[in-house]
């Protein structure tokens, strides 16, 4: 039972807030152990040192929003044996994908004095829309325990064990009281992918869906129930249109309520 060989890791960034990469640095207790087990070949946020590819494992943060990035991700894919996307930007386009529902030129001129200089694509898209992705780790931001699980899984050669059921199951496992049933607070937990530890309900707040859709999201039934709770149509649209707005199930549900 020889230990697995050292894995060559690269961390890449596209349009994002850096929070998912930071999650790796936030594994304070494990960081040096990780550095022991993997060879960090490229991780700009943490190191000047860069090593040439190919890489065994590439962690990709951020969405594709420019022509340059659309070609850069192709090169990264070619250089990576395994490519894992981390976070809502990389798996669903992130909050910046809200532009996908509007005319991007309006956005540019709102923010910039000289819009003609801006090079940006009309959409913000997930990495999987451009290249083959081996595994998607959800969350805005990702969860540190899950990130360690993913790295460990590739170090030891099995698939990451990150369940894809609803937030509710984790919520109940923690013994949290359901905010929707006990307070009438609209909650996206039943259609949202687990992984955060059911944070929002624990803090008495409805889940806002930052891990994106769960494995079999019945968004229509939930929206209907929200209607009984007094949530207006436009607020249903807003709820599905945040950090995972362009994830298919959420996109469809928002569209269904947009009049």
């Amino acid at each position: 039972m020889a230990p697995a060989p050292k894995l060559k890791l690269a961390v890449w960034k596209f349009a994002s807030c850096d929070g998912c990469q930071l999650t790796l640095l936030n594994c304070e207790d494990e960081l040096l152990a990780i550095a022991d087990r993997v060879d960090i070949a490229e991780f700009r946020e943490a190191s000047r040192a860069v090593a040439q590819g190919p890489y065994d494992l590439s962690l990709v943060e951020g969405s594709i929003t420019t022509v340059r990035d659309a070609s850069r991700i192709l090169e990264i894919r070619r250089a990576s044996k395994t490519l894992v996307t981390i976070g809502a930007c990389a798996t669903a386009g992130g909050i910046q994908a809200l532009r996908n529902f509007k005319d991007v030129n309006d956005f540019i001129s709102l923010v910039y004095a000289s819009p003609q200089y801006i090079d940006t694509l009309a959409t913000s898209t997930a990495i999987a829309a451009h290249v083959r992705v081996d595994f998607e780790l959800r969350g805005c931001p990702i969860d540190a325990r899950q990130l360690i699980e993913v790295i460990g899984a590739y170090v030891h050669g099995h698939r990451p064990r990150t369940p894809s059921h609803s937030v509710c199951i984790e919520c109940k496992q923690r013994g949290t009281v359901c905010v929707m049933v006990a307070r009438g607070t609209p909650c996206l937990g039943p259609v949202t992918h687990t992984g955060c530890g059911a944070l929002c309900p624990t803090y008495h707040r409805g889940c806002y869906g930052c891990f994106g859709p769960m494995e079999t999201p019945n968004t229509g039934s939930l929206s209907e129930w929200w209607g009984h709770l007094g949530v207006r149509e436009e607020d249903v649209v807003r709820a599905f249109r945040t950090f995972n707005a362009d994830a298919e199930a959420f996109r469809r549900e928002a569209q269904a309520h947009e009049h």
Partner: protein, 292 residues
């Protein structure tokens, strides 16, 4: 439908023992059967455990790979020689993948035996018809080995095996060898043929027309994809075989194998308790229902 209907192995359980803890077993030998299919010959480290271990063909063990997980795998060796336990494993996903990375001398966790076995006592003196499909033939290999070793106690042995394409044929030599055993027929069929395929072409149920089935003195044992078994059962019954003469081995997701985790429910039964080998009439109402 209480209690198992097929023989159950001697399960040695102490009242408050932790049923999830496996025993360590050493891989004595790793033998390749086909690409991505291998047989482990395992031996418990603990001598007392080794001595106490008794099983029936058709039963399974839970095999544990360090740090990855545990999976149910049938025992294919002979029950009279329970010192060394053979398990034929097809590399499927995580756990079987991790098992594949091990080799002779390495250690796995092993607990069992669990579930029901094939009706080999009842089959004495009768014809035994084995129907298998695809890659799911490991459990019936134990029957073949058992019958072959006690050849005179059984009637005709008819082995029907269906695959999708010729390249899915595993153990070609073994099939050929079985075919040479007295009073034994082997019929192979492939859904599609190719230039080299010299056996039948078509689905496995077509083979029923190739053999004579003594409906009063035969037991059928089958194992394979559920769809294949569904069609086979239907065909055999139209040929006059009664439901209580058909046995099949089923699979369901399994976590504990000791009726504690709920995963392997099959209608009113548990595959780890009433199964994996079921007499067809006992599950007949459920067998045609989707998503049971």
């Amino acid at each position: 439908m209480n209690g198992p209907l097929s023989p159950v192995g001697v399960q040695h359980v102490e009242p408050r023992q932790n049923p999830y803890v496996p025993h360590l077993a050493e891989i004595v030998e790793k033998r390749w059967e086909a690409p991505r299919i291998f047989t482990y010959r395992l031996r418990f480290r603990d001598e007392a455990r080794r001595r106490a271990f008794r099983f029936f063909p058709g039963q399974f063990n839970m095999i544990y790979a360090f740090g990855v997980g545990e999976v149910p795998i049938s025992i294919v060796s002979d029950p009279e020689d329970a010192d060394l336990l053979d398990h034929t494993i097809r590399v499927a996903g995580d756990v079987t993948g991790a098992l594949d990375r091990l080799d002779a001398g390495d250690v796995v966790g092993l607990r069992g035996p669990y579930g029901s076995g094939w009706p080999l006592e009842e089959a004495r003196g009768k014809d035994v018809i084995l129907v298998t499909g695809g890659l799911g033939c490991a459990p019936v290999v134990s029957v073949i080995n058992y019958v072959v070793k006690r050849r005179e106690s059984y009637g005709a042995l008819k082995i029907l095996h269906g695959i999708k394409t010729p390249k899915d044929l595993l153990y070609r030599e073994r099939f050929q060898a079985w075919g040479r055993i007295p009073n034994t027929e082997v019929h192979l069929t492939s859904d599609q043929g190719d230039g080299q395929w010299r056996y039948h072409i078509g689905v496995v149920t077509n083979l029923f027309r190739r053999i004579t089935i003594d409906t009063r003195n035969s037991l059928v044992m089958m194992c394979g994809p559920e769809t294949m078994m569904r069609f086979s059962v239907r065909d055999l019954m139209t040929q006059g075989l009664s439901a209580d003469r058909i046995y099949l081995s089923l699979e369901r997701n399994m976590k504990c194998a000791v009726v504690l985790c709920g995963h392997c429910q099959y209608g009113p039964t548990f595959v780890c308790r009433e199964g994996p080998v079921y007499r067809y009439d006992r599950i007949q109402p459920w067998f045609d229902v989707k998503e049971i």
